[in-house]
Amino acid sequence: MERQPRKLFHFHGGVRLDEHKAESNASPIRPMPLLARYVVPLRQHIGTPARALVCVGDTVLRGQVIGAAEGYVSTAVHAPTSGRVTAIEPRAVPHPSGLYDLAVVIEADGEDRAVDPRPLDWPHMDPSALRNRIREMGLAGLGGAVFPSYIKLNPGAPREGAGAIHTLILNGAECEPWITCDDRLMRERAGEVLQGARIMAHMLGVRRILVGVETNKPEALAALRQAADEVTEIVAVPARYPGGGGKQLTYTLTGVEVPAGGLSTDVGIQVFNVGTAYGLYRAVVQGEPLVSRIVTVTGHVARPGNYEARIGTCIHDLLAAAGGCLEGANGEIVGGPMMGFELMDRDAPVTKAVNCVIVKSPVLFPPKPEALPCFRCGACAQACPVQLQPFEMYWYSRTRDFGKAQAYKLFDCIECGCCSYVCPSHIPLVDFFRFAKSEIWERERENQAADQARARHEFRTFRLEREKQEKAEKFAKAAAAAKAKAAAGDPADPEAAKKKAILDAALARAAKAKEEMAAAGIAPKNVDNLPPRVEKEIAEIETRRARVPHPGQEDPHD
């Protein structure tokens, strides 16, 4: 398209990295063969995990909903193939913790039967119904944040002070080294990607679509330009990490800063990853829910490249499809080398968030040198794309002075890793920020729990007080009534007299029995020969009892 080149804006900091794209972007996307087993976690998106809809033993079809969206921030999860549910249990998931999470295990029957696709007549559908269908199709941001897409496709109710959404940005920057799944997708399926973008634009009611792609992907740029229409502008942006961060790309393309703590919609812009646009195309035009995604497998493997893997494909299967790890491999990174995390368990499956698996080797990823003290050289501050002062935040995070760390805007940190990358002292700065953030979140959770406990305790105290008062009032009323009766010359209540007589007789019987036993020299035997644990318990109970006053009652053990 012949247009004036768009004026681009330069965000602060950032770093230039070795791209390592050529390893995996040379060959076309390869489909994965059908596997015998898939593990589909119910938590694959930000928000509430999906609620399992199937039971062990159920048979499912490809594209069948096996987990329903639960609550507002949630989306559905689908069976990747036809087969039988063999377990719903905690399984390894791709997460830095290595913790297990609830997943549906499906044993494939090899037939790969699908539910009937239901393409949607999107240009004529009611917007709300369309969004609900997208929610049921399991769409979530495939760039890595996995935020349920249907929420972001709602043009209504912008926040106070924000205008209507006017621009849709499609993020094809793919700024992390090694990852090429978006590159290959844009090269091979540019038309579908832009078709998805048009559906997004339709839903959001915007008339302008900007597609940001880093200049290091000339083939993708060409393919997109070929497929672009009047409202779509394909923009080559400089390859500078983290230029593909949502807020950074928005700034580069428009010069608008998304307010801190806000969303891009606050400034009338919505951002989606190109993979999400493609997923939306598949869901809406072809009627297929999100059951697969493109994953880059690269690094120290035999056949690096991009694989179209079903959601639930175990990573060891994925690595096997890529020819297996080479000699000397020492672990895998999920995601890119700058923001990804170390894979704890190769049984973990590909989820909607997994865009890349890099097999490490000591040559590709040399061990980090030992950290030295910070000498405030400021390299981190110069590299920070958010213009933070990481060395100050580090100082306070390290000493657990979290209030101060927050005062230096810890929560504006996007954890891009630029600071750690440039630090001459090799301090794991981002690790400290992640640590500080999760500590603050936990403190927040604890405070909320404490507030709740305080409120409940106060209410209980109030309730007990009220009950006591009510009882006292009732008693006073009864006493007053009795008095009134007595005053009226009523004789003693015959019912009460009878009860008292029975009670007295019982007490007398008990006393007599005890006396008799004492006379016969029989002591109760139930406290003889006790194990020390029980004796200790008794002693404890006795001390407790000693504290409780029992007027007019003798201890039977005396």
């Binding site: 965000f11 602060h12 770093v15 990295l17 070795d18 830095p96 080294p177 807020k247 700034y251 800063e257 307010p259 801190a260 703590g261 806000g262 990174i333 995601g335 890119g336 080398p337 700058m338 923001m339 990804g340 995390f341 170390e342 990823f365 980090k368 040198p369 030992e370 030295l372 003290p373 000498f375 405030r376 050289c377 400021g378 501050a381 110069q382 794309p385 958010v386 213009q387 933070l388 002062q389 060395f391 100050e392 927050q406 005062a407 230096y408 805007k409 504006d412 954890e415 890793g417 750690s420 990358y421 440039v422 630090c423 001459p424 002292s425 090799h426 794991p428 981002v430 690790d431 992640r434």
Partner: protein, 344 residues
Amino acid sequence: MNGSPFTLLANNSVSAVMLKVMAALIPGIIAHAWFFGPGIWVSLLLCSALGIGLETLALLMRARPLGPALKDGSVLVTAWLLALSLPTLAPWWLYALGMLFAVVVAKHLYGGFGQNPFNPAMVAYAALIVSFPVYMTQWPAPVGVAPHGVGLGEALDLVFAGQGGISPDAYTAATALDTWKTQIRMGKPVADILALPAFGWGGGRAQELVALMYLFGGLLLLANRVITWHIPVAFLSGLALTASLLHAMNPAQHAGPVLHLLSGGAMLGAFFIATDPVSAASTPRGKLIFAGLAGLITVLIRNFGGYPDGVAFAILLMNVAAPFIDAYTQPRVFGHKPGREDRT
């Protein structure tokens, strides 16, 4: 657990930074040796050896691992800066005391590398000039000006065996700033003063060329992104502006900006000492304020104070203020509104 990023910038380490700083000092050092004789090699080597020894000792006493701290090379930078700030051919114990102050007092008593609130070399310089003002002003005269040139062997003799052989008068001379100060006090006219052998075409004779070589080294640091432009530019501007202003007000009393820029420790201070990141302000605006005021104070001390040069005291004074300056000059974070927000 170690998280991302999994790659780090190649060939980037503290020792690499320190090596670049030392490399950038070399043009100045060579010029110094060329114009003032080979004595500078003696003091450089002596200070370096003392520095490594004292660093090792301090680390042992603090029960800290030796390897990383010795490898980082920061103690060598301190040693070189001190060697270049102290008069060449001073007795060995002056260097020893200076390094003791720099490494043990100014650095390790405050917690070691990265923790010192003051620039260690400047602390040592200040301590020495207060304690031994006479030794501290006996700078060798430039080769050709001094009646007696000092060779390497003689330099070793002077430093280690005391000054028995020759009188200091034979090889030292008052520096330009010193001369200016004493002559002005004696009421000499400026034109006569500037004609004295202590002065060259702009600053102190030969000193001016050494200063230019420091400037060249500083530009290398800038080009290598070891330092940012803020501190040198602000320091030299603050110095030149203050000097010009005072000079304009009273030319018979105050020297012009060129003399101030090209004599004493101005260039060394601007590029190598004020830029010490540990003790300087660290925000961009903070650096400007920090260094601008340091330049201003330098001229005030030179023109009104009792000491011939003010770079050390000015930088130390501003070191005190650095944390405060930083706190008030935090840059605007992306997505935040301009202006200072309430810091909770």
